[in-house]
Symmetry: C2
Subunit: 225 residues, 2 copies
């Protein structure tokens, strides 16, 4: 069943747990969407960075309705969506043993356009809300023209794999022996994506009336759906 | 010449400047490597997260010599390597106008294995050094067995595009009018990948002798080649 998602290397790092995949998708913000363009004699791979929202067992991607690339996806071709969180650098006793801690989801399937205007509007609102919880209370919702200019695609989260590594390095015995004779520091340098102070649109400062306060959802920003 | 890298959408966000591409590649740590597997009747896209090092006009990828995926790349098939830095969330006056600030390189070509043992060893050392400058003075360099177990591929950085967005939202006139009557906060929420405190390998604490100090290159870690 999972031919495309069954690895031959390091199988202990791979699983097919939906809750784990969902947690990674909900924490990350960026997907790398890969597909093959068959319009040439040799199939040409493309990898496009895109944002997304996961709702239940579907991953939604969107973009401009006139986008050539997005329209080729909407045609139902095979797609591979990979989402990766880089958690740290693993510093081992040997150059060869250096590695990265990460959590990654690789998702295969065919995307289908969401055409119902009500559903489309709702999902796009939930996309904004997933990136900035609370934001849709402030921002104007999309109008009919904007909805028509947007192509929204849903990809079922059914055929996927989760790959991850965490923790300290795993070194060979001969290198561990150096811990006594000539030890070097080894371990993990953790990496996290963090927010800096919000930067207000300078045009808001030019209006000459009271500048709106930073909303609570940005003062205490946390990524969650 | 740049058919694959000439966009039809938002051309002002795209350029082919080598220095700009190199700066993005040197700051990021993770590439998403896409290719098409032709062993099926329908070409199957794969997108794999990998680390890399840029040296001059070549991007080097590596992995286990027994890796099926990496070997298919080594065969010289078309590859698309995309590297993306997410710089911030753009909060606009409308849901539709929400966006992301980012810098992305999309690189096309065919990778070739580096077979010369001396060059291979040197490039792998420079990969470690690019991720953690100073590290190769401590970590043991790869031996012949480890070099043989590693497949190193070079991809020329010749056919590429740089896509980026920065700055505040660009809103429609009707939404700007709200700044006077019912203003909402808008602007950018910057995102940065940052390091947390290094975590020592617990095995180093079990040796019972002096624990090695945190090296200077980790106390003041900065990503650079």
């Amino acid at each position: 069943m999972h031919t495309r998602t069954t690895p031959r290397q390091l199988p202990d790092r791979v699983n097919h747990d939906f809750a784990g995949a969902a947690a990674i998708l909900d924490q990350a913000m960026l997907a790398h969407v890969g597909f093959c363009d068959h319009s040439q004699s040799v199939a040409q791979p493309y990898v496009i960075p895109m944002t997304y929202v996961r709702l239940g067992q579907t991953l939604y991607l969107h973009g401009a309705a006139v986008s050539r690339l997005l329209n080729s996806l909407a045609g139902g071709i095979e797609v591979c969506v990979t989402v990766t969180l880089l958690d740290g650098l693993v510093l081992s006793r040997s150059s060869f043993g250096h590695s990265m801690n990460y959590r990654s989801v690789m998702l295969f399937g065919r995307a289908e356009p969401v055409t119902d205007a009500f559903r489309k509007a709702d999902i796009l609102q939930r996309l904004v809300e997933s990136l900035v919880p609370g934001r849709t209370a402030d921002a104007r919702a999309a109008d009919a023209k904007e909805l028509n200019a947007t192509l929204l695609l849903g990809l079922p989260i059914t055929e996927f794999s989760v790959k991850q590594r965490s923790g300290p390095p795993h070194d060979a015995t001969k290198d561990m022996a150096r811990d006594v004779s000539a030890p070097i520091w080894c371990g993990e340098l953790p990496l996290r994506q963090q927010t800096l102070d919000p930067v207000i649109d300078p045009l808001l400062l030019e209006v000459g009336i009271d500048t709106p306060e930073l909303p609570a959802y940005l003062r205490d920003y946390q990524r969650k759906v």
